[in-house]
Symmetry: C2
Subunit: 336 residues, 2 copies
Amino acid sequence: MARRLGKYTLAFDRPPRVISFAAVGGKKEGEGPLGNAFDRIFSDAYLGKDSFEEAESELQRQALTIAMSKGEITPDKVQYLFAGDLLNQCVGSTMGVGTFGIPQVGIYGACSTMALGMIMASGFVEGGLAHTAGAVTSSHFCASERQFRFPLEYGGQRPQTAGWTATASGAVLLGERTAGISVTHGIVGRVTALGVTDANNMGAAMAPAAADTILHFFEDTHMTPADFDLIMTGDLGKVGSRLLCELTRQNGLEISVCHGDCGLNLYHEQEQDVHAGGSGCGCCASVLCARILPSLCKGELKRVLFVATGSLHSTTTVQQGLPISGIAHGVVLSAE
Amino acid sequence: MARRLGKYTLAFDRPPRVISFAAVGGKKEGEGPLGNAFDRIFSDAYLGKDSFEEAESELQRQALTIAMSKGEITPDKVQYLFAGDLLNQCVGSTMGVGTFGIPQVGIYGACSTMALGMIMASGFVEGGLAHTAGAVTSSHFCASERQFRFPLEYGGQRPQTAGWTATASGAVLLGERTAGISVTHGIVGRVTALGVTDANNMGAAMAPAAADTILHFFEDTHMTPADFDLIMTGDLGKVGSRLLCELTRQNGLEISVCHGDCGLNLYHEQEQDVHAGGSGCGCCASVLCARILPSLCKGELKRVLFVATGSLHSTTTVQQGLPISGIAHGVVLSAE
């Protein structure tokens, strides 16, 4: 049974375990520092499909297929899929993993989707609502650019505060097991807005949300950053990471010693010209599945606080000049 | 503890109860057959805001505010909000109920969002993850038309198979109580596509999903339609409702005697010129809160199977000629 700690945190006493996971990515992601850690890299941006949107769907399908295969699980053994993405009306997930015939819970958390899906899947397993549940998400640079910014052909310039939407997907299967990486805590974030209106500076828009969730987590659990090998946010990038550490410091919490950000892990910062860092739902999903979970498996990491952040805007709200809200959801992953 | 019945259905043995609920709507909804049953009607399509999108957000905020007030609950007593809508990136929910500071789980199910939110909230309460949780959603005719079809000023003609997106919102609070309307079962749907590509005939695109969920529910529970006063879908409208009854009949299940559809309840069919019927997340959310739940409270209905359907397309997938998928999520509401 889950226990509520403090005001916002769930502690899972019979923690759901990671059964398997997979990360897939595009050419640029394959050339990054985690290139060899991906389960599969696609050099064709279309993945053999007719559009970038269908290509993004294929990324999700591939990630889940590989995760199921690694876990020796068939779709009929997965009771629920928690899936979402950045495309309007989450069509990446509908067209992608919707084809497996698994009961599907559409979730929306922008780039925080992976953590949100893991909390939901963990809660469902821990609460006795499912034996096995999956969390999956994706993003595609080309689909995202033309939806949120400009068609690629336009060749728009990107400011230094802008992130680079990852062409990637990650899938995690969780279940009732007695061994393996466990999800011991979950914390659902609150919508937070501090008045940022620049859609090319999402790190700044999301940092307050990350701070809110992280501060609440440590207050609720009475743990300290020293209890963690890594506090991994995603994807604040360069600008947002600096702001986050400053915001938590102002509130008496020093996290910079063990803080990392998925957006700063996926690409070679200088050579790959990604400005503020990686972003998009697929960024932290793939860093989770290509770096964090493998390191926990190998014992290189013991305990990680994984906090994924999302920027909750649309082109309409940005054009209307409305402030950009952020949200951050977190889970604790433990090797024990 | 929840039990799994058959392959897809959850039975809640310690069923979450409806604490309170509220429905708000626009002028046209106020002139419909449920006009007097709404908690509040707004004659101004902008609700005093600067844009239709902000107006939709205000609908959600109003619905939740009234529901909390009726339940004598303050935001800090609500552990989770499950909220989503049809606007790109679900900004209606972010800007709407995001302002209450309640941990927020973004969900996406198009017009099925209300039922999805109720399953999630019920599961979280039953699974011991929350004492109190809310489900809320909305739609706004003017925001939806310009996003999915044409700007209103264009004056586009609507085919007879098209629905009318409701300007409405519904909010339900669920919790651990011993009395009140209970949520006894929940069933999460699967993504279903039978090749419909006409975004002006969503009833046809969603009917197979509704049939899938309803057939699974009766197979899993060994109940029959005779166990229900009402099987209420939303929003298949005229076209989809006929198809649903035909599809279930072909599979040996006769539901037409007790079948109703939210899309056929919200407006006066002839006088209000809504063609196939009401649609949009706000339609079945407001029919639930203005008609179904009040009738259960009064004892006019004893047990209702509420199945909300969603059409999972975006303008991009429609323009690409891709088939429109549907999904349907269901809950059983019992007066006992």
